[in-house]
């Protein structure tokens, strides 16, 4: 039996944040086991070695620095500006996890002050964040919030010293190579172009009428389910593309069209091929797909 690696020393530092990722993390059903393998030098909610004041005073070394929230150079924690606080802790750690879309790309908070707020490595799609030169040790877990299992996966990989294959934004491919569209229960409705006009229906695809971003969004939401039971699209609300650098988009619940034709094609699908197939699919009327799955009146 391989011996269990030593506990990882982890710092959870917050930039400008709504605490969403902290709360998401608390929903991890395997949190108990995970806490056996990590020691939080600092965490905003969980028991930990140092208070924020002590952390800022000691600026300790760590194995993993988890950063949640958007970055702004002048934003302070315990009297220390993020510019030096983040940089110092980043230099003294082995791995950095950019937790959530604000830390990764600027996210929602960037909307408030687009000029000064960014992610730690990326500012939207551009790699101009303060930790760009340290990107090799950064793992991006974008999402609003990131799924708790994405974090425990990453911590486990680090703990067992396994290489993590990443995409252009340094997101683990294991988690982000899929599209949210993959595994959605509504795929058959997408294929045959049967749409749902309302939230929360069991039937229909949310692409045309409700702006679903599933076909453009990298994420495993329909593979690693939320709360282990469901996902936005499974429960009948459109994916808003929260894992992408383009998040948040405007008019989240409408699909932009030009002359009834969606302005964006599913990733990698040429417009001509998509339109030919979609046109053909629309020509058929599949009774089973147009009916309610469960008819309340019979």
């Amino acid at each position: 039996m391989p011996s269990n690696p030593a506990k990882l020393r982890v710092i959870w530092l917050q930039g400008i944040t709504c605490n969403g990722n902290t709360h998401s993390f608390l929903n991890d059903p395997s949190l108990g086991t995970l806490l056996d393998s990590v020691e939080f030098l600092h965490h905003p909610l969980l028991p930990c070695t140092f208070t924020l004041q002590q952390l800022v005073k000691k600026l300790p070394k760590s194995d993993i620095l988890i950063f949640e929230g958007a970055y702004s150079a002048s934003f302070e924690r315990a009297g220390m500006a993020m510019e030096s606080l983040l940089m110092t802790l980043a230099l003294k750690t082995k791995h950095i996890i950019s937790m959530g879309s604000c830390a990764s790309f600027g996210g929602i908070f960037k909307e408030n002050d687009p000029e000064h707020i960014s992610g730690i490595v990326f500012d939207k799609e551009n790699d101009s964040g303060p930790l760009r030169d340290m990107r090799k040790k950064v793992i991006t877990l974008s999402g609003c919030p990131a799924h708790p299992k994405w974090l425990s996966f990453t911590i486990d990989m680090i703990r067992f010293d396994k290489p993590i294959a990443v995409d252009e934004y340094r997101r683990p491919k294991e988690l982000y190579a899929y599209l949210v569209h993959n595994g959605c229960l509504r795929n058959e409705y997408f294929e045959w172009k049967v749409d749902s006009e309302h939230f929360g229906t069991k039937e229909g695809c949310l692409f045309y009428a409700q702006g679903c971003q599933g076909p453009f969004t990298h994420g495993s939401c329909n593979k690693i389910l939320w709360n282990e039971v469901s996902s936005k699209t499974r429960s009948g609300t459109p994916c808003v593309g929260c894992t992408e650098p383009t998040f948040p988009k405007r008019e989240l619940f409408t699909t932009k069209t030009y002359m009834s034709i969606p302005s964006e094609m599913p990733i990698g699908i040429p417009k001509r091929s998509y339109l030919a197939l979609a046109g053909a699919a629309k020509s058929f009327h599949i009774k089973r797909l147009e009916e309610r799955l469960i008819d309340d009146h019979t």
């Binding site: 030009y258 002359m259 417009k271 001509r272 339109l275 030919a276 046109g279 053909a280 058929f284």
Partner: protein, 197 residues
């Protein structure tokens, strides 16, 4: 001389059948009359097309591909949407003049006998090559700001209904002037009807 391939034979049968269908109509044209026109036995004709309906369907696919290829070339040229409209109108009328049987078939056989095509050509399937290019034309026109955003079929109907109607009344010998002399004004009308305000 090399013997024509089965595909080449099919195309030559279709060309003849097209003339008959567009002149005589779908119901008047029979497999024996087509075979006679080509100079081939009816039995042999069935080696190429298993029924009159299948032949009719292959013809509409063939025509939609011709129109689709032409519009694709226009879509891919570096010209403005207004110029593309001119080019499409010109192309359509040129085909109507040089190969009148194609457009006639489209209008008088395909659109007028929908029951024939119901089982093998649901919705837009058989004309997909053509409709897809029109979708791309409209989508790009709106995207670049030249055309007004609206429902696809409202715009498609205006454009194609207009052209089809002109070719139809030309076929009825109602137009006092040759069809091509209307090209420019028609293209202009279409552009003004669709352009962004």
């Amino acid at each position: 001389m090399a013997r024509p391939t089965k595909e080449e034979r099919k195309v030559s049968i279709m060309t003849k059948a097209l003339e008959l269908f567009s002149k005589e109509g779908f119901y008047q044209t029979t497999m024996p009359s087509i075979a006679e026109k080509i100079g081939m036995s009816v039995g042999n004709l069935y080696n190429y097309f298993t029924s009159k309906e299948m032949l009719a369907k292959d013809l509409i696919l063939y025509i939609a591909n011709i129109l689709g290829d032409e519009i694709r070339k226009i879509n891919e040229s570096p010209i403005s949407t207004q110029e593309k409209i001119e080019a499409i109108v010109h192309m359509y009328f040129r085909i109507a003049k040089d190969r009148p049987e194609t457009i006639e078939y489209f209008l008088r056989v395909y659109l007028s006998n929908r029951e024939v095509f119901q089982n093998c050509c649901e919705g837009m399937i058989c004309v997909s090559a053509f409709v897809t290019e029109m979708m791309i034309f409209f989508e790009e026109g709106v995207r670049c700001g030249e055309l007004r955003d609206q429902d696809f079929f409202s715009a498609f109907g205006l454009f194609m209904g207009y052209l089809g109607g002109m070719v139809f009344i030309n076929g009825e010998n109602i137009l006092p002037k040759p069809l091509e002399s209307y090209e420019h004004t028609i293209a202009e009308n279409i552009y003004y009807a669709l352009k962004s305000r």
